[in-house]
């Protein structure tokens, strides 16, 4: 320390800044986040009952909802006017299966896209493909940080059964993929699944994943839609988040209102909120499931180093007030 204080103030400050930068790079290399998020939390409670895919399951009536605010997607065309203002989200997990129930007010169900001017209601959840210290861009991710999207569509669920009365469908006797080239090519618009498992790394990169494992079902009532999505905890493939009790993952939501002619990017979107997979039932007081998570030794080690560096920074930028040196900085 004597050698350090004998150097010029400029040199000492450069050393301190260098140490701070080295530590910052160390945090980055080991992917340790020295700060903690304080944004809203959506809790996925442990359930003793299987809620199934029924959007009106009794489990949801007893589960606390988190109201997630939505705003118009108006970053890139086609922009939205923001028809849907909020979505009430409930989540439970049962037998290593994550269930999410999404409810939003929409008095006019739009379940068909059979004609050019009709658009379907839909809802989607978006997860960062890989957990990181910072979330990717909310708008479909970014080049170095993709997002995994689960999208439920009312028209996909209903198929052609709700064709408008004047609609006409030719008899098409072929059923195998050879005669459905779009389906054979994996065109997401030809999928017959109600829920699609997608990935995106920026605008115009939305692509269906090979693992179409998201289950879901929706139901429309007097107040609006209730949709349940479900997926096993285990990641079905690359670029898809795995879940575990005690985990905290980022998630964002989007809702399309067919009556408002919402489609594609014209939708209402939320910011990222955090989904906590709780180890306990909501009836029990929330606790940190410390026993389920390994002690974060790496975080502790790096924070200890950080404290040491902070001490050094303070030592460099501080001095005894009666210090009679000739390097006294100017008064402010």
């Amino acid at each position: 320390m004597t050698a350090l204080t004998s150097t010029s103030p400029r040199t000492r400050r450069l050393i301190a800044i260098g140490l701070v930068l080295m530590l910052a790079i160390g945090f980055r290399i080991f992917d340790v986040t020295p700060a903690a998020a304080q944004s809203s939390i959506l809790t996925s409670w442990s359930s003793t009952t299987d809620p199934g895919l029924d959007p009106n399951s009794a489990v949801w009536a007893d589960t606390p909802a988190t109201s997630v605010q939505l705003t118009a997607q108006n970053v890139t065309p086609p922009m939205s006017t923001g028809g849907i203002r909020a979505v009430n989200v409930r989540s439970v997990h049962y037998n290593n299966m994550l269930y999410v129930n999404l409810q939003w007010a929409d008095t006019t169900p739009d379940m068909s896209t059979a004609s050019v001017g009709t658009f379907a209601d839909a809802v989607a959840m978006q997860f960062p493909s890989v957990a990181a210290s910072s979330v990717p861009a909310i708008c479909m991710g970014q080049a170095d940080s993709a997002v995994n999207i689960w999208q439920w569509r009312a028209d996909a669920q209903e198929g052609v059964s709700l064709m408008p009365d004047r609609g006409y469908v030719d008899l098409y006797q072929f059923t195998d993929d050879l005669y459905y080239p779009a389906r054979a090519a994996g065109n997401i618009q030809s999928s017959t699944a109600a829920v699609q498992n997608l990935i995106a790394g920026g605008f115009g990169t939305l692509t269906p994943l090979n693992e179409q494992v998201i289950a879901g079902a929706g139901s429309h009532g007097a107040l609006g839609w209730s949709v349940t999505l479900a997926r096993p905890f285990t990641a079905p493939g690359e670029n898809q988040p795995a879940f575990a009790t005690g985990d905290m993952v980022d998630v964002a939501f989007a809702v399309w209102d067919g009556t408002n002619k919402d489609r594609n990017g014209q939708k209402s979107v939320s910011a990222f909120v955090r989904l906590e997979i709780a180890g306990n039932d909501f009836a029990a007081p929330p606790t940190v499931p410390a026993s389920d998570a390994p002690f974060p030794w790496d975080t502790l080690a790096l924070i200890t180093i950080a404290v040491a560096v902070v001490g050094l920074v303070l030592a460099v930028f501080g001095r005894p007030s009666d210090w009679d040196g000739d390097d006294q900085p100017d008064q402010t």
Binding site: A35, A36, T299, L300
Partner: protein, 322 residues
């Protein structure tokens, strides 16, 4: 132990230097990580520049980590300074925040507790400073307005964590918070009340016109950027935000020209933090900002051996008389 306390009491920090470097790191992170990389996704054919994009993202993340270290170093320096000066309310507030913020990454404390302490400290610290006579009323007004904006914006988040079944008029509360934040920005003029300075006015007009113009021309993109970075949803007219930005720029420029960079640093910390609960680092930045604006000497250069500490009103008096 007595010797340690004596040694600690005789210590003095160049906290202005730490604050300046911390602001540089915070603004670097704000510009690179929260602005550039998140708007660059709109550039067609970005994939061609993927390597450059990744490099820029990494620089932003390293700046973020550096900002965290420097902000907490500054908070610790401020805590030691509060101890030396026996500012007990400020000391308790800073210690309380440090404990919850440093423990937050470990998940040892319930988030609702961490958030509640954050809100209480951000509201109470400038209020107690004014009540205890450490800060003047004039200095306290902008801080109290900023703190109130933060608390109103943060309340739905903390209530949602503590009482999930409670519903609040979230949209209305965010609008109120936004109005308070704008009022706080306007009230910053109290710091440099007096004869206008021409160069500062020119800077203010440029900043104000650019801000209002961008909001009027590209409301969607700018509103989303404001929401991400400042916690402001853009509820009011672009002109209001233009005037608020102009006042901030005028006060920052004037205070620097008058030899009071702490006011400019305080404004920078508040902007980097944004209103509402986002992360412990943003809350810490906001807390430092309101404290710097409320207390005249909460960050300062080391005192010369013969110099006398300035009183808050004396500093305001100098500011007014220049």
């Amino acid at each position: 132990m007595t010797a340690w306390f004596t040694r600690l009491r005789s210590h003095d920090f160049d906290s202005v230097a730490i604050a300046t470097i911390a602001v540089v790191a915070l603004l670097t992170e704000l510009i690179i990580l929260r602005l550039v990389t998140r708007t660059a996704i709109h550039i067609p054919g970005l994939g061609t520049f993927e390597a450059e994009f990744r490099l820029l993202s990494e620089l932003g993340r390293i700046a973020f980590n550096a900002a965290v270290i420097l902000v907490f170093a500054l908070l610790i320096a401020m805590t030691i300074d509060a101890f030396i000066k026996m500012r007990w309310p400020l000391l308790v507030a800073l210690l309380g925040f440090l404990v919850v913020a440093i423990s937050a990454p470990f998940g040892w404390l319930p988030e609702a507790l961490i958030d509640s302490v954050t809100i209480i400290v951000i509201v109470a610290a400038p209020l107690l400073g004014w009540l205890s006579g450490d800060g003047s009323l004039r200095r306290s007004i902008p801080s109290l307005l900023f703190s109130s904006a933060f608390a109103v914006a943060a309340l739905p988040t903390v209530v949602g964590k503590a009482q999930p079944e409670t519903t609040l008029p979230v949209s209305s509360m965010l609008n109120v918070a936004e109005a308070l934040a704008l009022a706080a920005a306007f009230s910053l003029i109290l710091y440099v009340w007096g004869r206008p300075q021409r160069r500062s006015l020119i800077i203010a007009v440029i900043v104000g016109v650019v801000t209002a113009g961008m909001l009027a021309a590209q409301p969607a993109t700018i509103e989303i950027l404001m929401l991400w970075n400042l916690g402001l949803a853009g509820y009011f007219s672009p002109m209001v935000y233009g005037v608020a930005a102009a006042v901030c720029a005028y006060v920052a420029a004037t205070s620097i020209r008058r030899g009071q960079p702490t006011v400019a640093l305080g404004i920078a910390f508040v902007i980097a933090g944004g209103i509402g609960l986002h992360s412990t680092i943003q809350s810490a930045s906001f807390l430092i900002g309101v404290l710097v604006l409320a207390y005249p000497d909460v960050i300062r250069r080391p005192l010369a051996p013969a110099s006398e500490p300035k009183s808050s009103d004396a500093e305001i008096g100098v500011a007014v008389s220049v």
